[in-house]
């Protein structure tokens, strides 16, 4: 898990790769969570 990086460029590429993957996952997961959260709401109510 603890990769050795020899240049700052390597480090940035690696960490940004993972970060963008997580951000993509969040873009999908958060709207799905919102759908779950509001799934039983009556129509017209905002809570």
């Amino acid at each position: 898990m603890h990769t050795i990086f020899y240049t700052l460029h390597d480090f940035m590429v690696h960490t940004k790769d993972i970060t963008y993957l997580i951000m993509g996952g969040l873009l999908i997961a958060l709207p799905l969570f919102w759908v779950f959260l509001t799934g039983k709401d009556e129509k017209g109510k905002t809570y």
Binding site: I18, L26, L37
Partner: protein, 390 residues
Amino acid sequence: MQYVKPLVGKIKPTPFNIITGAIIIMGIFLTIARFAGGLGTVTNLDNNNPWGLWIGFDLLCGVALAAGGYVTSATCYIFGLKRFHSAVRPAILTAFLGYALVVFALNYDVGRPWRLPYPVFFSQGTSSLLFEVGLCVFLYLNVLFIEFTPAVLEWLGLKRARDIVMKLTLVLTIFGVVLSTLHQSSLGALFLIAPSKLHPLWYSGYLPIYFFISSIFAGMSMVIFEGSLAHRFLHDKMDETHLSESQGVSMGFAKAASFIMMGYLGIKLIGLAIDNNWHHLFTGWGAWFLVELVGFVALPSFLYAIAARDKNLKLVRVASVLAVLGVVLNRLNISLVAFNWHLPSSQRYFPSWMEIATSIFIVTLGVVFYRFITTHMPVLYEHPDYRHDH
């Protein structure tokens, strides 16, 4: 309901009065010891650990948990969700008492109370984050004081003065949101100066954002938690409006807090990824970090979501306790537990019993003031003269 009560009634020897009385007497002795003998008499602070429990708990947790004031007033007056109106005054009162006690507690830590106005009026360190925090807390305490004065003026029967202050509500709310955004985040930014002292799992360039976002759900959870306590112990002081609106307030905040906590979890993951700190998760520190993140952020967020879906008020209250504890744990982890983590245990800081007792004394003062004010002033009920005023 009786609207006008004597200022100080006969004090009965109830368990609450006996316990709070004992704590206050002990607090007075500790206060004398601290100011007569200095920090060394009552604290375990040293040069490695100049910030202890009084900063980690009284200040960091106090400010975060007092965020209910700006969150609730913004919800009601800026976002226009008027069904939260009955929660505004209790939240403003909690915030005002919270900030007042933060400043009170700060005197114990820095000493020489008469020098407290110096950073604001005489020697401004404009390049310092502490100056920004100090200025914001000073200004916001005044904003909260003015925001709360309508309740005092209604109690005193000063109708004209009350009407003038009520006209300032929106301006004060905006001012409160701006000041809170500034100093809630700056409290996190204070730790950016110590990357080598704070454990990498808690240290991040995003600390100011973490502090600000967590203050939003801390404030909401605190309003729910405090509302449930008020329901339990001050039920007779609440009128029909407060009783009927309280479930809607709790459900609305539960849903909002749930979503914000999930977002917070997301940016915590991004923080881990951007600094490549994954390998720390497999250490003892990592386990403790996961306890904080899974047990006190993900779990309450999920419980809030289930409770909001099923309209389960009991579960909302359980989740609010977990969320409040989570924010306290986070602030204590950053300021005490994971701070100076590399030092041998003999040089680590652990608060003395007198520091803990002083913190309990200060929290107790808050509870006593809250009880006194809600007993006498129109906080949990609307004054009959102004019932249709909003």
